[in-house]
């Protein structure tokens, strides 16, 4: 079985965000970029399937600064092949453009299953999975938290509100948007990642012309105005504890 996992980097949400001089995009110059957490789960799910049933796992990402670390980490986890996609991707790529360009490349890789993160926090034109699936002519199911492959079908657990699960069956090839792997993404030692850097070669492919149509044009970005912000208590833990005790007393909890 041939499993492809397209992944991407996103700004780390713990960072302080600011808007660039154009006023229409994030200033990413100083932002720490990390793997989209749902993509990390997609990698884990792919490796789990490989361990269970045997599969060739290929990780695919655009060639942006910092992506090598993520790709070597995936190799250390058990991915068989890693591919970087080159192209004019610094100028603010969106999911529509990426899905179109990636579809051409992925089609040639002849996947049985594509697993990708169900969303990324900076998506503004929908998530990439369903678009990619449509360009590839594959069925798509998202919000998946468990996958089993049996013959030419996958049995998946789709999440609904309130903890309800829909067990669905889908014919392969198919694309699944992963919400959570069946187990947390595994940890790999830095030493193992370093070893991969010496032994694994990253294949590079060229993305075709990027066509952004279908994605919105941003007039402006801004940080949310905080009308009624929280009443801030002390930054000192002991003082804050005292204040909280009083609040709990006022609310009748203590």
């Amino acid at each position: 079985m041939n499993i492809i996992v397209p992944v991407k980097l996103v700004p780390d949400l713990v960072e302080e965000f600011s808007i660039d001089t154009s006023g229409t995009a994030l200033d990413t110059a100083w932002l720490r970029m990390i793997i989209n957490e749902f993509d990390d789960h997609a990698i884990e799910q792919a490796i789990l399937l490989k361990e269970r049933t045997g599969a060739l796992v290929t990780i695919l990402s655009t060639n942006v600064e910092g992506v090598d670390d993520l790709l070597f980490a995936a190799a250390a986890k058990g991915a068989d092949k890693i591919i970087k996609l080159n192209g004019d991707i610094e100028s603010g790529i969106n999911n529509h453009a990426l899905a179109r360009a990636m579809a051409t490349i992925i089609r040639d890789l002849k996947p049985d299953l594509i697993l990708t993160g169900v969303q990324a926090h900076n998506d503004l034109d929908g998530s990439i999975g369903p678009q990619l699936a449509e360009y590839l002519g594959m069925p798509y199911i998202g919000y998946i938290s468990g996958v089993n492959v049996s013959g030419d079908k996958a049995i998946v657990r789709k999440e609904y509100p309130g903890g309800l699960i829909g067990e669905m069956q889908v014919s392969l090839p198919a694309l699944l948007g992963i919400q959570a792997a069946e187990q947390p993404p595994r940890y790999v030692a830095i030493s193992k990642v370093r070893q991969m850097m010496k032994t694994v070669s990253i294949e590079e492919l060229e993305l075709s012309t990027l066509d952004s149509s279908g994605a919105p044009i941003v007039n402006r970005m801004f940080q949310p105005e905080t009308g009624e912000r929280a009443t801030m208590l002390s930054e000192n833990a002991d003082e804050a504890a005292n204040q909280l005790i009083n609040i709990f007393k006022d609310l009748g909890t203590l």
């Binding site: 302080e16 509100p161 699960i165 905080t226 912000r229 208590l233 909280l244 709990f248």
Partner: protein, 320 residues
């Protein structure tokens, strides 16, 4: 293209989802600027009665046994056909486990623009999206052709999308729904036997800031001391540190306690939408820019690893 605003209604096991009413409310706002009608699209099997409270000018209803339950493939096929035929000014989808499964495919298939994470509609049909875990807002114009919009909760109340007068329902023909590649086998009910956090009045919620599984005990000790129950945001449950029955958020439970103490939770929209019914939200987070402080009544940037044990100890002293 006409000026009408369509809403792709979502329902699950016989109940209309709140997001459907929130979409109807947003659609009404947008329809007032375009001058069109609000049209609800309802797919189902013997489900006309679900439309009774829609604040819509009209309802287009499709009836088919395969539409009894949500299946991304037959929903997408059916809605693609309807949107292609009617070409409304805009179509709302929920930014949900249902809407997000199908809207991207429709955008790709019909070549229609898609704006996601929209929270409010402002003057001149400006769409305001909320991204980056609630830390950034983006303003876009309503795209020039039939626009697909996914809506997050928070901008409008479900009541605004409800009406005491039932709208007229027109049944329209079904697309071909053969050769489906996706099939719903069964629903698996949520785990039971654990506490029902949606009914608890004092919740101690932990998020990514708790850092390790061992640290969950800090929250458990506090909960035990004060008489509350521990719950969590998505990252904690995905790590397997707490069971899914304790998950608060989009695919977990919606809660409405008297006190919601959020420890190390940033306040991403998927989490916030499930806690806005709380009487009092108190947030502990070292990041002063964390969006949780925008909805909390009280907040502190004190380090949780100092504050939570101190708080537990004080409560124990008071309670003896």
């Amino acid at each position: 293209m006409n000026q009408d605003i369509f809403v792709a209604i979502e329902h699950l096991r016989g109940k209309v989802s709140d997001i459907s009413y929130i979409m109807l409310a947003a659609a009404r706002v947008l329809a007032q600027t375009t001058g069109g009608k609000v049209v609800a699209i309802l797919l189902g099997k013997d489900a006309q009665s679900l439309a009774s409270k829609f604040n819509a000018d009209t309802v287009l209803y499709v009836d088919h046994p395969l539409l009894l339950d949500f299946n991304p493939e037959d929903y997408q096929k059916t809605l693609t056909g309807i949107i292609d035929e009617y070409r409304p000014r805009a179509v709302f989808f929920g930014q949900t486990t249902i809407g997000m499964d199908i809207v991207g495919g429709i955008s790709a298939r019909l070549g229609l623009p898609l704006v996601s994470s929209v929270r409010t509609i402002e003057a001149d049909s400006k769409l305001i999206s909320q991204i980056c875990g609630g830390k950034i807002m983006a303003e876009c114009d309503l795209p020039a052709t039939t626009a697909l919009i996914t809506l997050v909760p928070g901008g409008y109340k479900p009541e605004q999308g409800q009406s005491t007068q039932s709208p007229p329902v027109t049944t329209i023909p079904v697309q071909q729904l053969d050769d489906l590649r996706i099939k719903l086998n069964q629903y698996i009910e949520p785990e039971t036997g654990d506490v029902d956090i949606s009914k608890e009045s004092l919740l101690i919620a932990v998020g990514r800031g708790i850092q390790t599984q061992d640290n969950i005990s800090l929250a458990e000790e506090l909960a035990q001391a004060i008489g509350g129950v521990v719950c969590a945001s998505r990252p904690v449950v995905d790590q397997g540190w707490l069971p899914t029955s304790r998950l608060v958020g989009k695919s977990g439970s919606t809660v409405k306690p008297k006190i919601y103490l959020a420890i190390g939770i940033s306040g991403a929209p998927e989490h916030v939408e499930a806690i806005t019914g709380s009487d009092v939200i108190i947030a502990i987070n070292t990041d002063p820019a964390a969006p949780i402080f925008n909805i909390a009544k009280y907040g502190t940037t004190a380090d949780l690893f100092d504050l939570v044990p101190a708080l537990t100890e004080q409560i124990r002293n008071i309670k003896g």
